[in-house]
Amino acid sequence: MSGARRGFWRFVAFWRARALDAELNEEMQAHIQLATDELVERGVSPGEARRRALVMFGGMEQARNRHREARGLMNLEILMQDVKYTLRTLWRDPGFTIVAVLILGLGIGVNVAVFSVVNTLMLRPLPFAQAQELVWIAPPPAKCGLSCATYSTDAYDEFRVGSRAYQDVTGYFAFSSPGNLKVRIGNGVPVPATGIDVIANFFDVLEVRPAMGRLFRAEDGRNGASPVIVLSDAWWRTQFGADPNIVGKAFDIGGQQTTVIGVLPKDFDFGAVFSPGAKVDAITPLNLYGPPRNWGNIITMIGRLKPGVTLGQAVGEAARVAPSMCWNNNRPNTCGDYKGAVVPVPLKQWVSGRLRNALRILWGAVGMIMLIACVNLSNLMLARAASRSKEFAMRGALGASRGRIVRQLLTESVMLATGGALVGLTLASLMVGWLSHQGSIALPLFNTLRIDGAALGWTVLIALGAALLFGIVPGLRMAGGNLHETLKATGSGQGRRQERLRSVLVVSEVALACMLLVGSGLLLRSFLHVLQIDLGFRPEHAAAVTVDYEDNPADGNGSTDDSARKILNRRGLYFRQLQERVSALPGVVAVGTTDYLPLTGNRAWGMPWPKGVKRPDKTPDGPLVYVITPGYLRAIGTRVRGRDFTWDDRMGTQGVVIINESYAKYLAKYAHWPNDDAVGKVLDGGGGQDLVVAGVAEDVHAESVDGENGWQIYWAAMQAFAGTPQLTVRSTLPAGQMAGSVMAILREMNPKQTAAEFKPIQKLVDHSLSPRRFFMFLVAAFAGLGLLLAALGIYGLISYSVTRQTQEIGIRMALGATAGRVQRYVMSGTMRLAVWGIVLGTVASVAAAKIVTSMLYDTSPWDAVTYSSVVFVLFAVAAVAGFIPAFRASRLDAMVALRTE
């Protein structure tokens, strides 16, 4: 009890030191006075009495110190002293302080920034309540794109009812294309916005609460429900000026008065979680019991497991329910289609699992930067310590204990690390702020990037770790030295021993930089290889725009042959006219229309099979389907053998398709066509429909630039129902110049045409490449930083050793050494360091290269070009870093040099 009490008062005393000192002084004065009075009373003269009183009292200062020691926190007081002293010494050497703090700041900054990314993507749960309960339910990856990754509404209903492991299951319509909402505000031109249809319980399952108004109820998704919409926070702000009274207002969306019922919270961004890099403006309810019933596989499923249900149990149950799920309940032969194709995985793994490896590599890269920074700092501190060794020896001689000196040095490194941490945090928050606004990078959750408590904790951790790392070596070295030797020495013996240690540090720094460079070199090589991939289309000089076209209601809904013919014929006429007008524009080379552009959405319709050839019981999933008009393949730049479609390929004439080479090759295996040539052969399209293969197109990278090619089939737009038409224009003029005239034609033909974006096809490619580009850019930046730090290290060491050897060099020159000889002498020292570092770094890289293999494309982790370029770059940088001091050395005036001490 009294111990705790005393601790408390000690703590108080620490903060009230000044007042307590004053009181003690007063008390001691009183003491002397009382003693003097007593002696005077006994007959001693006042002067003598006071002297004797002081003698009896003992040292005033000692009494004061003992008092402080007894009452306060001595360790803290020493610490404060050290801190004050350190601040003073650092202040006196601003060059050193600034360089040290900057180096540390850079190292800590990139570490904290990358930690924030890793934390957001890997460590932190998804931004939903009890996010660990959420699972993504999908088939294993297949070749046929989104159609094979989704479920029909019947299948969804069966799964939802048949599973007991879930609190609830929801989903969304996976085939929404960007700009699918045409919103007319006031009387202006309709503007395009991107909306996603979700099942009405979507927000309940994710436990998202509205920032304003309400979210969906079951009745919003029923037949006959009045159209409603929920706005994203960002869209509400940009399009509606953050109107606080937005709820209840109605707008014309796609011709229907749609009421805004709510605004989503700021921290919910559909795109960031489910479709990285895409901007989703609004959410609308999906009517499961309307037309979507017959659209086939359209729904992605997300479930919330009941508390306590393990993933293993969920997987087991999904396998049990899957056989009873039907693609269409009215077609019993489709029941069981989903066997083996219903697999729950944690939602988080689906969102960011693929990035795991890339993030580890990034983390490793910044870890190496931190090591290099620490090595650099150690080096600086050693150089500084060497010049201060006499100071420390003197303090030692005056009675400072070894521990006290180490403590002082550690205080210094902790102070530097603190400065570095502050600079680093500033840097990191700048970087993180920038990253969180890179909406076009197709990486998930970037909008939620921020410096949070965990990142702050990490900062403290690495700053302290770094302080220990770079502070302990010089600390021990200093404290271990022999006092007398140091006091007597002129510095050169000690210096040489120091220099060996510093050389080891610089070599390891070069080795680390070498590893970073090899890593970034390999990624760069891969990226260059990816850029050279033959995409199967030519993105340059092509651009596309979404066309708003509505069928004439008088033509019916397409459910009868007659109605279908009317609709498709009218479309054919319309698009033929549109394309003819656009192709008359100056600069236009080719024009065509498709319903899905490469690298955007896709779907599959089953597998046409060579007519008269027996179909195996189990075929792989069918090709991706594109419904196109004549001219499209030329506009997008895909080469065709055989012929393109013509405007005469209509309902009523021979059905024709164009298939891609891989698909043709696959069919040829079964059909045994002469020369395996599919052109002109007849396929059975299912339902007794004959399809003649008009042409064979080259393989297109439909889903990703660096992924594998699947199969593709093209249908003529006058023979099949297309999705949203994308007018594609190839021209000799830049897209920006074409946009105005193309939009004018579109608007002339349809006054309701939205102000859609005329988007260069290259943008699609860039978007698909953005994660790879992003990682490569970061790793390259880190490698550059590592190289810079290593160069600084070499430069620092060589200049230091030149300074130290000034006299020696002076003697050599006095004895007749030429400037060239001196330069060679200094450079050979530099190169020795570089060679050691490069050899070690290369060996380490060869050993570690396997880690990056998964991120490489068509590049060996032991790529000779990369390794030799890295070696060259490192030599060049080392040469430059060493040449500056070497040049300085060669310009020394022998006489001046000899006289320096």
């Binding site: 009294s2 111990g3 009490r5 005393r6 008062w9 000690r10 005393a13 009181e23 003690l24 007063e26 008390e27 001691m28 009183a30 003491h31 006075q33 009382l34 003693a35 009075d37 007593e38 009896m56 009292f57 003992g58 040292g59 005033m60 000692q62 009494a63 003992r66 008092h67 020691e69 007894a70 009452r71």
Partner: protein, 117 residues
């Protein structure tokens, strides 16, 4: 009287201060120091200044209290007095010292061969 004064053992000064205050009532630092010197017949080596470290330690533990006041010859000084907790502590420590000195006494009277006088 031995030629050299006795060095104070760790903690003994605290006990002396407590005992002095228990017997003499409220006293200032100088008075306590003088009293200890007198009682020990100047056998204890005491820099009077060291008394203040002891006083602050005892006060922080709540065994003594303090108050500024005026001395007999009209000097302002800080007066210390023992608290109830201090008295309890004093009793405990005095008992401990009694036992310890008894043991030490017996140990030092021990003769070679193990027989005690």
């Amino acid at each position: 009287m031995s030629p050299e004064k006795l060095d104070l053992l760790q903690g003994t000064l605290d006990l002396m201060v407590l005992q002095t205050l228990a017997v003499m009532g409220s006293m200032h630092g100088y008075g306590i120091a003088r009293r200890i010197e007198q009682v020990s017949a100047d056998e204890v080596l005491l820099n009077q200044g060291t008394i203040y470290a002891s006083l602050v330690r005892l006060e922080q533990r709540g065994w003594i209290g303090s108050e500024w006041g005026v001395s007999g010859n009209n000097r302002k000084a800080k007066f210390y007095s023992i608290t109830a907790a201090g008295r309890k502590k004093l009793a405990e420590d005095a008992e401990y010292w009694g036992r310890l000195t008894g043991v030490m006494d017996r140990m030092l009277r021990m003769k070679t061969g193990g027989e005690t006088a």
